[in-house]
Symmetry: C2
Subunit: 463 residues, 2 copies
Amino acid sequence: MNMSRTRRERLVVIGGDAAGMSAASQARRLKGRDELEIVAFERGHFTSYSACGIPYWVGGDVTDRDRLIARTPEEHRARDIDLRLRTEVTDIDLDGQRVRARDVDSGAESWTSYDKLVIATGARPIRPDMPGMDAPGVHGVQTLDDGQALLDTLARTRGRRAVVVGAGYIGVEMAEALINRGYEVTVVNRGSEPMSTLDPDMGRLVHKAMEGLGITMVNDAEVTGILTGDDDRVRAVATPDRDFPADVVVLGIGVRPETTLAKAAGLPLGIHGGLLTDRSMRVRGHENIWAGGDCVEVLDLVSGQERHIALGTHANKHGQVIGTNAGGGYATFPGVVGTAVSKVCDLEIARTGLREKDAHRVGLRFEAVTIESTSRAGYYPDASPMTVKMLAELRTGRLLGVQIVGREGAGKRVDIAAVALTAGMTVEQMTTLDLGYAPPFSPVWDPVLVAARKAAAKVRGSL
Amino acid sequence: MNMSRTRRERLVVIGGDAAGMSAASQARRLKGRDELEIVAFERGHFTSYSACGIPYWVGGDVTDRDRLIARTPEEHRARDIDLRLRTEVTDIDLDGQRVRARDVDSGAESWTSYDKLVIATGARPIRPDMPGMDAPGVHGVQTLDDGQALLDTLARTRGRRAVVVGAGYIGVEMAEALINRGYEVTVVNRGSEPMSTLDPDMGRLVHKAMEGLGITMVNDAEVTGILTGDDDRVRAVATPDRDFPADVVVLGIGVRPETTLAKAAGLPLGIHGGLLTDRSMRVRGHENIWAGGDCVEVLDLVSGQERHIALGTHANKHGQVIGTNAGGGYATFPGVVGTAVSKVCDLEIARTGLREKDAHRVGLRFEAVTIESTSRAGYYPDASPMTVKMLAELRTGRLLGVQIVGREGAGKRVDIAAVALTAGMTVEQMTTLDLGYAPPFSPVWDPVLVAARKAAAKVRGSL
């Protein structure tokens, strides 16, 4: 008899949000407590929460913070997961198969050995190294603690001038949140247009819509520092051209993979600083270590190269795959096509696949078309305009990317293109897709079909 | 020199709605008047109108009939299309390459020869052969003339009791239209649940929602006749069990391909009575005759068999393909996957692919799963429940069909499945689709992904 078959294995999880706790939960579903011990370390106060929901909590659409928490520490513990909150892992000892953890409050440290390890350390917000970034009134919105701190500041602050630094997803969502709270909002953006995940011609539509909402949009502006007053609180955001008075500043500059621990342990990182995994989400070259969520790079199925995308839906999928594999099953995460949706008030913004500059960068030549259509049949009430941009590879006509800006019904239409990208469809094939049609839902030619027809004609050279 | 190259060809089009006039317009785009003469016959008063929009015109959402007309006769004529309204084609002479047409008003007949022929004769509503079907107050809603006649009746009729016969798309849409106009609406349905394009378990959700809207839904009821009063007007709809008092009756029983002419000419018809075409929409075995729209059968890509589907979006695609080919270009229509969306007030109903009984009929064995999810993140305002049913083939796990019933955001989600069906994806592959996620648009696991996960687990035998 092989005694090791009866030994209880230990799975250690670093990070208690989406990827880590999905992995832990799924592993537990597959293996009971008699077979597998699960220890999870989380340095914060919360587990399994929706960071993506923070702007809507700050904006008042979600009134109760706890509704953002999908599963509490108590619920995890009830499932026989040994969850250690406020405990930060400070070291991974690969040779010894153990991690060192420190109690954040007491400072006490101890080692925990593992048979299997999951790294789900997430991402950290980019905070440029410039004067005043730590001044009171300057806030990130990465964690629930961040969100609470921002709400506390808003409750205390009399002035109504808010400056959002950065005009990506977080930036525009926070602009909406602050407008909804009655602030005068200025968004200071380094790029030429907001939403640099879109091509600038599509970003321009977002720009105009934001101005229509009363948001002041400042492009091509590099923030050089935060100016503070006599009370050391934030007073303004400085750029080379001018200063923007601010009673509160929200940083939405983006995030980087949090891989300090992994790097120190010598685990493989990609050019974006994220952990590199294989299709089973195993860290490359390491049989018993998995990584997922915002700390990894993912394969972009369209470009064939790795990207870093911090998004809850990927983190949950990674966790599911990792937990299945760590629990003795089999699952893979093939990669992403780069789908994202967002909104600013009633403007919906969506993208999937490659932008023009992505295609250039990876050596793909393309045709790009942009069309105007409507969300419903033109004669149906509340039909709203929608702009669809589509990129198709030269010669092959393979779909490369889609960007959509419009009102109700625009955002999730990008899913059509996300599936078509996954399937490697050509724009010619897309022209005959059997999409849902009825006057309240779509014109007789869905906007995505209109774009596909134009793109196909351009690829054929008949446009 | 080949003189025939300079001879002007004549394209004759029978039918002036979506398929016929799309074909004529597209052919004209490719070939100018010096190369191609185009003659189009339409027996009614209108061209290129949206029959799908009629329920919304009757219901008052669309106030102007002319908004349902995409292109008027004058606009077609301005594009050098010789359009002959109120002119019915009564004969196709294949050997002579000519058609006989009759002026509906004068009765005058004449022959017109063709080099190329397009048959787009549409569908005719099913009107059961039973007493009273032609009584005043009994209306179909197939054409703009039908819609106007119904509106005239509604304006004249004092009583507020409306009975809709049939509970398919037209039936439920007309029920909504009449509820919106303040009628007491009873829907009399032969099937066990409304929306027989869904499985009965999903139709049951529609049934409940209709009752919630104040519509009286009567299932398993076969209409045996229309009862009339002393004034010969409709008085009630009779079934074996009871009579349903009615001041107005709307027939929404469905349609059949209108292929009387084609049949008389000996053109090939399928088992559903529609013309059979090849991928280029050419009538099988006939080099210079094309057919499209509601009068043809289409290949169902999931079952591999022909179906009859009367839907404007297909008719427009057929017309585009026919016009391209008749104009000397190249285009194909590969088939359909059977996507349809509809709504009753704020209830959205969608389906694509095969129902359980379709799968049984074509010899496919499957697993079926049903899940409940929400349209947005659960914590986001106005997140509404959504039910998704998914069928996957046994062993292969290939997606076979999806049905969705819910509120805002439910209907067009079916497009995800429509593209996946077209691509031949398995439900396992669908579990990692990169669909758009943000809290206002979707839970972190989109409802379609939740269904795919459950279906994949069931196919694997791990559910």
